[in-house]
């Protein structure tokens, strides 16, 4: 079906592809255009889609703004700990479900899978109460710590991949005197490296732009991650009538670029995880 494409068809195809492509790219260009607008243009709020002004100084201002750098730093801390927590705990739990037997295993795995169906809003209020009782309000802990208790999706994904590693390796390791923890740590983790990278990328994607949880837990501007910081920057509760839209867009770019970088460098791992998670994986 997708073989011979005639000349007329080719022209139509390229026209459609380019049209859609331009429509999808315009918001990016607009973001860049506003981020480069001068202070006067911001005051008048007359932005052009195609950049006409190139106030590069906006980016100097952005990167010398201690507040914004602090938001960025908080986001980095948040994702690093979230990734460590998720990679370690999810692989640990997946090893149990993949390699070991115990009473109620099948039932517990079913429970694990069904938790994916529960919307976060159900548990939101009691979780808020738990974390405030623990004195964790105005810290990143309520967002970081749950990542150390594994996520159902990652456990499912990792178990799929573990079940494809031959059990003979476990037996050989046992004969060499390794215990279960040794098999997990010395045999499984090194073999699972590509998929662990995929889990790390998924965790990054899920946490980098997180908004609702920081909004609930963090009031102190010093502790906020970038996504919430951008929103604070754009709101007009302070004395100024017009938010500094050029800086807001610069900060939005700062929020977007890491996502793009992680995608371009990590797409082969994500692709592998997506393609393989659905198929095979006996038992």
């Amino acid at each position: 079906m997708f073989k011979k494409v005639g000349l007329v068809e080719k022209v139509v195809l390229y026209a459609l592809l380019s049209g859609i492509g331009v429509a999808l790219i315009i918001p990016f260009i607009y973001m860049i255009s506003i981020s480069l607008a001068s202070g006067e243009t911001v005051a008048k709020m007359e932005f052009t889609i195609w950049p006409r002004e190139f106030t590069w100084h906006n980016f100097v201002e952005l990167f010398s703004n201690a507040q914004i750098l602090n938001y960025f730093k908080n986001s980095i801390i948040l994702v690093i700990f979230a990734i460590i927590g998720q990679v370690l705990s999810s692989s640990f739990v997946a090893f149990g479900f993949s390699r070991l037997n115990g009473k109620g295993k099948n039932f517990l795995f079913l429970v694990l899978l069904s938790t994916m169906m529960i919307p976060g809003q159900i548990t939101m209020i009691p979780q808020f109460i738990i974390f405030s009782e623990l004195g964790w309000l105005n810290t990143l802990l309520p967002i970081i710590v749950p990542n150390f208790f594994a996520s159902a999706f990652n456990v499912f994904l990792l178990r799929q991949f573990m079940s494809r590693i031959p059990r003979e390796l476990d037996e050989a390791a046992k004969i060499d005197g390794l215990g279960y923890f040794g098999i997990y740590w010395r045999i499984m983790l090194p073999l699972l490296k590509p998929i662990l990278i995929a889990v790390a990328i998924f965790t990054f994607n899920a946490n980098w732009g997180l908004f609702m949880e920081p909004l609930i837990y963090i009031n102190d501007v010093e502790k906020m991650p970038l996504a919430l910081g951008v929103q604070i920057l754009s709101s007009t509760f302070s004395s100024q009538a017009v938010p500094p839209w050029n800086i807001v867009m610069g900060a939005s770019l700062l929020l977007t670029v890491p996502m793009l970088l992680v995608f371009f460098f990590g797409q082969k791992y994500m692709f592998e995880a997506n393609i393989n998670s659905g198929s095979s994986g006996s038992k």
Binding site: M1, L24, F97, L100, Q121, I122, T123
Partner: protein, 322 residues
């Protein structure tokens, strides 16, 4: 180990019982050890599940029958929250808005992403470039895309109204207009359609070529091939997109909070932002919990309907088609 001798003894039928017991004992010791380790390994999830999911779910259910304001002790009020909820005009409005948004944006996203995936499946030069471009919007965090769309949707200078003015159409002040504001969020949803698209593209590329070839021999047109071969074969992926899209749309929050705050006059307010303001702005924790449970039920019902309907329109290879 003397297991071999044991089995020989068993086979001879001489005094099998104690030997068998000993064998079981040996196995069960190893099994017990394994079981202990099983629980150690799944402990992080199990503890998290009890502490962060099961416990809070029970607590939320109980809270939904109280009038707790976070500062004084909760009072048990029975079904009052649910009764109030069903008489709350704002609640019905946010439910309506959420359904309106979901019922338009989810099917529209699927149709558009299907069209885009079809274009991207063509084998022509430079197609990889277009694949990347079509996917890029998915990578933009909602906060950032909301910031951009504040300007895309601006009344006079916004991209959409400037485009409309080419055709002499005087576009509305999207984010400020009670009738049009819901469409703002539909635009935003459509911009991020690339997530659905990649899955559909992979599915389209996986359709066996022989199917098309035999259809071509029967003289089938491109149109027929698409609707009678491609669509049925990839229907499980469409089904997946439908379920995920639905669950996501019903829980829309960030874009609404940033772009309109639910306004003007709640005309863009949806279930989760309403739940959020009840909980964390008015501190009506009991009432907010009852909203959460109603949302849970709505999501379950929608999902169930799609699952039930799937036997009619989702085609799985393993079934024999009549």
């Amino acid at each position: 180990m003397n297991t071999t001798t044991n089995s020989v003894v068993n086979n001879n039928g001489e005094n099998p019982v104690p030997e068998k017991n000993r064998a079981i004992k040996v196995i069960s010791k190893a099994a017990k050890k394994e079981q202990r380790w099983f629980y150690i390994f799944i402990a992080p999830w199990l503890i998290g599940f009890i502490g962060f999911t099961l416990g809070p779910m029970i607590a939320s259910f109980v809270l939904s029958f109280t009038d707790w304001d976070l500062f004084t002790a909760p009072n048990f009020v029975g079904l009052e929250n649910y009764i109030t909820l069903f008489q709350d005009d704002v609640f019905w409005k946010v439910v309506y808005n959420t359904f309106f948004f979901t019922i338009i944006s989810v099917p529209l996203s699927i149709i558009l992403s299907l069209g885009m995936a079809y274009l991207l499946a063509q084998k022509i030069r430079g197609i990889k470039f277009f694949r990347t471009v079509f996917y890029l919007p998915v990578l933009v965090p909602v906060v950032a895309s909301s910031m951009i769309f504040k300007w895309i949707l601006a009344p006079d200078t916004g991209v959409i109204n400037r485009f409309l003015s080419i055709f002499g159409v005087d576009g509305p002040a999207w984010l400020l207009d009670p009738t049009w504001v819901k469409f703002s969020f539909i635009f935003l949803a459509i911009w991020g359609v690339g997530g659905n698209m990649v899955l559909l593209l992979a599915a389209i590329q996986g359709v066996p070529e022989e199917l098309y070839e035999s259809a071509e021999m029967d003289g089938a047109s491109k149109f027929r091939k698409f609707f009678h071969i491609t669509i049925p074969i990839i229907s499980p992926v469409i089904f997946f997109n439908l379920v995920m899209g639905l669950i996501g749309s019903l829980q829309a929050f960030t874009q609404i909070y940033i772009l309109t705050g639910g306004g003007p006059n709640n005309s863009s307010n949806m279930i989760v932002p309403y739940l959020f303001s009840n909980a964390f702005e008015y501190y009506k924790m009991g009432y907010a919990s009852s909203i959460a449970w109603v949302l849970f039920i709505i999501i379950m019902v929608f999902t169930l309907i799609i699952f039930k309907s799937s036997s009619i329109w989702v085609y799985y290879e393993s079934e024999v088609k009549k």
